[in-house]
Symmetry: C2
Subunit: 153 residues, 2 copies
């Protein structure tokens, strides 16, 4: 058997690095709220979107958190069963329903937000303030470019 012509060093390969970093960070944060509050990542993102922008329809939530409508539907269904989210039918368009946090949901939201912000602050301690700006700028540009590549490809 011959050797590979050209090998790909995963450890230096950007898509792989981003994936591993994002997974570690996402799981670490999830560990902080999953136990006490029993939420999945998607459920928490739905709650965060509603905490900031309610009322929103399910579609609008999906756009905010970059999540397809099936995932949003399931997350909302779980949150409604636990009484964390309320749904109100839109009289002018009965396909739509506007969603908002219930009182109970808002209480939980307000307890999780500081935990999430604290984790972000802890994470940012690895970087100087100017570097945080830099990182965010670079991520923004990468993201925009990746979207562009996807469309043209």
């Amino acid at each position: 058997m011959q050797n590979a012509l050209q090998a790909l060093d995963l450890e230096k390969f950007l898509p792989y690095r981003l994936s591993v970093l994002a997974q570690l960070v996402s799981e670490s944060l999830h560990d902080l709220y999953a136990g006490p509050f029993g939420l999945t990542v998607t459920q928490w993102r739905v709650m965060a979107a509603l905490g900031r922008f309610a009322p929103l329809t399910a579609s609008e939530v999906g756009q905010r958190i970059v999540m397809d409508k099936v995932a949003v539907s399931r997350a909302v269904s779980g949150l409604m069963k636990r009484g964390l989210v309320e749904r109100a039918a839109d009289p002018s368009d009965r396909r739509r329903a506007s969603l908002r946090l219930s009182g109970k949901g808002l209480t939980m939201h307000d307890r999780i937000v500081p935990i999430a912000l604290k984790y972000q602050a802890d994470l940012y301690e690895a970087l100087a303030p100017a570097e945080r700006e830099t990182l965010n700028g670079l991520c923004d540009r990468l993201f925009a470019h990746a979207k562009l590549l996807r469309k043209t490809a």
Copy 2:
């Protein structure tokens, strides 16, 4: 109902941003090799690890690509069924088996590597060379710090 005391703007929240960026990049790359070669992300990572470092045991593959042994086992099983990977029992320890790409697997590997590197190059066009270095350095430090936080927490 009252409003949230403090809201979390997901669009500016680092864990969320990393997650969305990594997902977009990972899916875009997957689109490039999934169709022609029918590989999952995990299968491709196993092949990449073997292309670079074979022979490896399943455990060693798992360490390289940060993947638990069940996922590796399943990916390898799929790759063996397609004749892309070969397994040789280790005579000195019959629990272990060393894995390597077959000739067919190597051929596929050598066709995918340039595609992956091309995608990375396209992605990097969003950034100046110095910025690429900067991004990688910042990601490294964030990753190390996130691992540290996880242990201490």
